[in-house]
Assembly symmetry: C2
Homo-oligomer: 139 residues x 2
Amino acid sequence: MEQRISCITLGVRDLAASVAFYRALGWAPREDDLDDVFFFSAGGLVFALWDRGLLAEDSCVVDSGGWGGITLAHNVRSEQEVDAVLEQARAAGARIGRGGARTEWGGYSGIFLDPDGHPWEVAHNPGWPLRDDGSVQLG
Amino acid sequence: MEQRISCITLGVRDLAASVAFYRALGWAPREDDLDDVFFFSAGGLVFALWDRGLLAEDSCVVDSGGWGGITLAHNVRSEQEVDAVLEQARAAGARIGRGGARTEWGGYSGIFLDPDGHPWEVAHNPGWPLRDDGSVQLG
């Protein structure tokens, strides 16, 4: 198994609301998508939004209804950009879990929760430089 | 907010067991990692394994204890490779949610569950060609 991930699918309860939220963050789904699933090109992988019940069934799991042990992160190039993205998320309707602040690992980060409560850490990590295309260069 | 993901962190209950599982799949963490978190370079992003309780706290969420609405996918270049990766996962201790089979979207996929029950779809999707480096080219 090669060391890479092809797609991250978030199960959502109100697909239109979730698509509107991610659009408000500046994300754009593939143009020709159908109405029941939305795909976003995110670097070399795909980010997808799909009905949570259908995703649970397709994934052969029982839905706990809450958070299940996976957190996504979006790294940026400065502390100011962390604050700006958190503010953009708040304006788009996200709940802010914690505002931007220094972290014990030497960076700066905050957390927003999307409309379904999926957490995103927005982080500036000086130890993980970003390439021009935004991909992470793991030290 | 740029349209990309920097890190996916999986919360796990037995870090050593999870690291051993992903090593058995052929994945290798960064050499200099500490004992309490492991980072894997996965294309342009980072895949991390960390204690589930600490991740929940850091993510400002309550842990449901089960699946929480996120599924990862690993796409490969052929149906045979789907079967091979599922077999590799089974041999590494994964539970197979469903074996490789044709899908209604015109591809072929199966599901394995990692030691914490995090689902991975292993898929061949003729509509999403893979570049030489394995990244997905969204049609």
